[in-house]
């Protein structure tokens, strides 16, 4: 899931300073799940903005702001609604959703979040980065655990010399992911595979902006 972090309310207010009527979009996929930009947070921001003298023209949180159908369908066109009633749109969707809104309206769009990473939810309390979308997935050969995303140096040939007592040299609160990979590979009987040298990665596969074309 794409995770986002809500900006400080003061920062949001500052970005809306020139406007009065504000329409707020959240997103019920990533932003809601990580409790930083779903309907609940959108209403919280709306309340604060009203206190600061803004007029809130609408608060909506579609199930997937990066999917155009969810924003404007023949039955209900949220974008048109927002555009006609407001001076500005505040989006709490991830970078993809916010850009899609901006592409389809004529009024300014501001973001109330910073998009962080592709992560997995842990203990219902926090998210950890699991994937950097490198375009050249290696996890089938590393026990389903990604060293590219989960080692700060993206090492694919094994741990660095800074892996002391199971901890990462970059952040002592972080476990070295290679310890977990070793444990998992042993458990599934694939440990010897890690003895084989891994050639350099093809970084041309992660040159952005990338495109995924759907087959007919």
């Amino acid at each position: 899931m794409v995770t986002v972090k809500l900006k400080s309310l003061d920062e949001i207010v500052e970005s809306l300073r020139r406007f009065n009527r504000v329409f707020i979009f959240g997103c019920q996929l990533g932003s809601a799940r990580c409790k930083n930009g779903g309907l609940r947070e959108a209403y919280r921001v709306a309340g604060y903005l009203e206190l600061k003298g803004f007029k809130i023209t609408g608060v909506k949180s579609p199930g997937g702001t990066c999917i155009l159908d969810r924003l404007s369908s023949p039955e209900r066109n949220l974008l048109k609604e927002a555009e006609e009633s407001s001076d500005v749109i505040l989006s709490l969707a991830c970078g993809a959703g916010t850009q899609l809104i901006a592409e389809n309206v004529s009024i300014p769009v501001k973001t109330g979040v910073t998009t962080l990473f592709i992560g997995a939810e842990r203990d219902g309390r926090y998210f950890e980065e699991y994937c950097i979308a490198c375009g050249d997935c290696v996890i089938s050969s590393t026990g389903g655990i990604c060293p590219v995303a989960r080692c700060p140096k993206s090492l694919v040939n094994g741990p660095c010399g800074g892996a002391i007592a199971g901890k990462c040299e970059v952040d002592p609160n972080l476990s070295c992911i290679w310890f977990r990979i070793a444990q998992r590979m042993e458990q599934i009987g694939e440990l010897p595979d890690l003895r084989k040298p891994v050639p350099p990665k093809d970084y041309s596969l992660s040159v952005y902006p990338r495109k995924l074309v759907l087959e007919e």
Binding site: P159, G161, G162, I164, W178, F179, A182, P197
Partner: protein, 295 residues
């Protein structure tokens, strides 16, 4: 005899570390190691170690060479992608610098400019492979090189890092990729130094054991914090008892170095200061009859 010839013929080598200046005054760096001229076989020139900006290692290595010292150019994967690394290695060889020690490198955020973009396009194993490919007359994309390259490739090993099996396999990958000598992190235990040396020999490279004299109890505790198992309790206890901890720490490290002459391929002094003492130590061992023919 050059560093490379000594390693190839099984002589005991002594290397030491030189950090380029934070600025342009390389002459004072060279002046500081003058007592070691003709004694230390080669000097590792560090590549912005601890991720702090200093003069690039390649010009510093060249300045050393021009002043009569043999350099080992250290290159890390932290700041350069594969294009820059190949270019650097070609430039080094063209300048007459043939010894290189290749490693992944410290992470950017550990230094004093943590906002820098980390590169890590290649890792240490892949970089060693690239250097070997250059030696075979080609770039890593297969294109033929104009002019020959014959780098003498080294790498590093930390016996205190884990998981052990993966560290050993990574060491094996480095040696298979073309590393001929392996310099280790500081070791303070003779038995461990022997075990590590045996391991490196068995994988087909020459071990050069890291020696870092401890100057104070504070430094020992710092080292222990970095690497809990690397500093033995006996060293800590000795430092606590010693009237002069710096002398105690020096003697302790030098005793490990002396022991290594029996079973290892060399020692690598990672020291700051103590240049005169190191020079005397080298004179002592080189003239000692027990070690006749080892150097």
């Amino acid at each position: 005899m050059s560093f490379r010839e000594k390693v190839a013929t099984g002589k005991f080598v002594i290397t030491a570390e030189v950090a380029p200046p934070r600025g342009t005054d390389y002459t004072s760096v060279i002046k500081a190691i003058e007592p070691l001229k003709g004694k230390v076989d080669a000097f590792n020139v560090t590549d912005c170690q601890r991720s702090m900006v200093r003069m690039a290692p390649l010009p510093m290595a060249k300045f050393l060479k021009d002043s009569g010292y043999e350099p080992i150019l250290q290159l890390t994967c932290r700041d350069r992608n594969r294009i820059a690394l190949q270019a650097e290695l070609l430039g080094a060889y063209a300048l007459g610098i043939e010894n290189v020690c290749l490693m992944t490198g410290d992470f950017t955020t550990l230094g004093d400019q943590p906002d820098a973009k980390p590169v890590f396009d290649l890792d240490s194993v892949q970089l060693i492979e690239v250097a070997s490919t250059l030696n075979s007359g080609r770039l890593m994309n297969g294109k033929e090189l104009q002019g020959r390259v014959d780098l003498f490739i080294g790498a590093v090993y930390n016996p205190f890092a884990g998981p052990e099996i993966l560290q050993v396999w990574k060491l094996e990958k480095k040696i298979k990729a073309g590393a001929k000598f392996i310099q280790t992190q500081p070791i303070y235990d003779v038995e461990l130094a022997r075990k590590v040396s045996d391991l490196i020999y068995s994988l087909g490279a020459v071990p050069v054991v890291g020696i870092l004299p401890i100057k104070s109890l504070k430094m020992a505790n710092f080292m222990k914090k970095l690497n809990p198992t690397s500093v033995p309790d006996s060293l800590i206890e000795g430092l606590e008892r010693a009237s002069n901890p710096a002398t105690y720490g020096w003697d302790f490290a030098v005793d490990v170095a002396k022991a290594c002459i029996e079973f290892s391929g060399g020692v690598h002094f990672m020291l700051v200061g103590k240049v005169q003492e190191l020079a005397s130590f080298i004179d002592f061992v080189k003239n000692h009859r027990d070690y006749n023919g080892k150097f």
